[in-house]
Symmetry: C2
Subunit: 142 residues, 2 copies
DNA sequence: TTGGTTTTGATAGTCATTTTCAATAAAACA
DNA sequence: TGTTTTATTGAAAATGACTATCAAAACCAA
């Protein structure tokens, strides 16, 4: 599946006339090796420790490309930092966010997704994406 | 209901040992006179036009207090500005956000709220609040 | 290899928000 | 009431995440 993701990006780059660069390859490898919801700064630190000559701006730029290519999703929680997570084709999930330890639990709920579509239809609204975040205390912290 | 909200803040201030100040009274009056989802800067401009000697930092600080007191809710959309809306006791709603004209439609859905509670229970999670935002094109923009 | 074009890294800039701190005002006290 | 204590304020500086700039480097089609 890592190969599949690399192909997604290669295809995207091709279709956009983007060049293949050492930096993008390395950043993609490292991003794919991570789990959970990583901030740009966190990813930059990983990248820097593997390849110190890659700059922060490049990490910002490249993560945006990954999101555009459809292999990453931007997550904005309430900590002032943009995070990215992997996108698995055809899957969607939402988040339970612990406000104490910042841990995140992912969940999927078909019924909620359906109800969202109904609501949007009722308002003549065309959904592009959505975000459902439940904040509170996780099992460990409550 | 404006009086009720003022009382909410008075009680909160009392319980927190906060002092009653001219600035807080004025900012509360002006906030209560607004509708929709107002940004701090927008509210600050209103405040300044009524009372030019009130500073921006005070507006920031005071809106946070309103949120803490439970009479305002912070809204973070994707435009880089924090917005606040009125909280009506016992009511909750979520948002359809048009990514083209930035208009917001509010909606309520009991079933979604119930499902959220079930999901949280299933994960031993204690909900403090939640946020459901549906992004897309509104009826006018699609 | 070359030459036009994209990408990069360092750095400066932006912008919303927060912090600092001395002056001021509110409550507590005498 | 005046006095003391303490919170609050406004202006300005600081912060911090992100973006723009731009000259140098890398890419790649020919
Ligand atoms: Mn996730
Ligand atoms: Mn609303
Ligand atoms: Zn927790
Ligand atoms: Zn619209």
């Amino acid at each position: 599946m890592i190969l599949a993701k690399k192909k997604i990006f290669t295809d995207f780059a091709l279709s956009k006339g983007l060049r293949s660069t050492r930096q993008r390859d390395i950043i993609l490898d490292i991003f794919l090796s991570t789990h959970q919801h990583i901030s740009v700064e966190e990813l930059y630190l990983k990248v820097k420790s593997s390849t110190p000559d890659i700059g922060q701006a490049t990490v910002y730029r490249t993560l945006k490309l990954f999101a555009e290519a459809g292999l990453a999703r931007e997550i904005l929680l309430h900590d002032g930092q943009t995070r990215y997570e992997h996108v698995v084709a055809g899957e969607h999930h939402d988040h339970l966010v612990c406000t104490k330890c910042n841990s995140i639990v992912e969940f999927e709920n078909e019924t909620i997704e359906m109800l969202q579509n109904e609501i949007a239809d009722r308002h003549g609204f065309q959904i592009r994406n959505h975000k459902l975040e439940i904040y509170g205390l996780c099992a460990n912290c409550r």
